[in-house]
Structure formats: C-alpha cells, structure tokens
Symmetry: C2
Subunit: 150 residues, 2 copies
C-alpha cells in the first residue's frame, strides 16, 4: 500500500506539477536535500561573513563568487520541507507545517535578502556588503528562532 501510494504520488507530481517535494523518491531524501542545500549555502555565506566581520581581508571578487552561490542556493532548501518530512525531522519544528504561509514568507524574505547581498557584493564596497550581510543574517536568525530547534 505504501508502495502504491508513493507510485501514484510520483505519477501525479509529473502530470500536475505538484510542489517539488513530491519529486523526492522518499521523505529521507527530501530532508537530506534541504540539509545539504542549507549547509552549502551556509559555507559560502560564512565566507562573506568573515570578510564583513574583518576576520579575513576583504576580497571583492571572492565576495561576488560566494554571494552568487548564496543567492542561488537560497531558493533550493524549501522544496525539501514537503508533506511527510515533518515525521522524520530533527531540528525542524512542527510550526513549519502548521504555519505554512508564515514559513513561506520567511523563505521569500531570505531569497530577497540574498539577492540584495549579491547586488551589494557587486558594488565592490565593503561597507555596503557589511550592511547587506547583517540584513541577510537577520533573515536567517528570524526564521531559525521560530522554526528550528536549538
């Protein structure tokens, strides 16, 4: 029965373009996907943070390269929070699935902020980059505070 349900859902996803979450072979893959995308994003965001916080010298080219990856990666994790993945979540709080509209707003906020971060990186101005970094980091934190367990 479980197999048949999965099979039918996979078929529906292809035909009716359900949310991308339905494209994962199993919920475990969706969880691993979102964790992977968030980890890759965090690594590159951290490199911009190191410049913004003066821990490494400002490198305008590296800032742009990292911001490009952050901006693209920020769009990906959300497909991995689909139905069924709440059952096997580790740090994801139930509110993600009980407050989908608010959670979606947080996703969109991050995508907007990382877009601004990329624009800031391309300005080749460290002060501009610092401001955008702080604003993007705030978007991360706001969402983590509500939707992620410590």
């Amino acid at each position: 029965m479980k197999f048949i349900t999965s099979f039918v859902l996979a078929g529906m996803a292809a035909v009716t373009a359900l949310p991308a979450a339905a494209q994962f072979a199993k919920p475990e893959d969706a969880v691993k996907y979102r964790q992977s995308a968030l980890f890759v994003m965090a690594q590159h965001f951290g490199r911009i943070g190191a410049m913004a916080n003066g821990k490494v010298p400002y490198d305008a080219k590296a800032a742009v390269e990292n911001a490009e990856i952050v901006a693209e990666m920020s769009k990906l994790p959300w497909a991995g929070f689909g139905p069924g993945t709440d059952k096997i979540s580790q740090r994801a709080k139930p509110e993600i699935w009980t407050e989908p509209v608010k959670f979606k707003e947080n996703q969109e906020k991050l995508v907007v902020e990382t877009g601004k971060l990329l624009v800031a990186a391309r300005s080749n101005n460290l002060e501009t980059l610092k401001t955008a970094f702080t604003s993007t980091a705030a978007a991360c934190k706001t969402c983590h505070d509500v939707y992620r367990k410590d």
Copy 2:
C-alpha cells in the same frame, strides 16, 4: 601546533587565494560540503534522467530549471577534496590525491558536460536532452568507477 598550523593556513588562504579547500573551518566541513553539493546535484540530475528515460513525462521548463541547478552545482564539490580530507574520507579513494591532474580532468569534464546538458535542455527537444543526459551520466560514471568506492 595543529592549531597554529590551521591558523597560519587560514591566514594564507585569505591573502594568497589558496584553493577554496583551505577556506573550510575543518576537514569534516569540507567532506560534508562536497557530499552535500554532490547530493543536491544528483537529485536534480535524477529528475532530468527520469524524463530522459521515460519514467515521467517530458517537461521542457522543468528540464531547464533542473539543468541550470546541475550546471551550477557541478562546479562546487571539488573544493571539498582538499588536503587533509583524504584522512576522513568514506567513499573517496586515495587516487583522488595521488592523481590530482587526472582527477581534475574528470571535474572539468563534468562541468563541460553539464554545460552541454543545459544547452540541450534549452533546445526544448527531448531527443537532444536524452543524448546530453547519457553523455553527462557517462562522465559521472567514469569518475565514480575510478575514484569512488562501491
């Protein structure tokens, strides 16, 4: 001593633009990074494969969206194979570090192939996409056969 070495390396990375691997806080992060990037890429590549193999109906728009992500992701994992990460590898074979030139050729081959895959996806022609998918999958397999444990 270990700490000092790491600290000096981190400083050098910032100043002299060493390979990106040196930007990871610790080798474990580099390994997790490369595994994460490869997993995200594989998920999107698999969706193109499902269309190429007739398991789901061809969706030209979805093919392009997935190919865009595959093309970008194919550039990322390699920074995670830096010095020191061979000690904590699970499936990565020692040849990665003893044959760096050949391993690099395999990386570049994949990036070229995923670039062609994106062009093929944008052609909106399923047969063209199938050909490019097969060619890209061969690049994955060639590298896995030599450099990845079963």
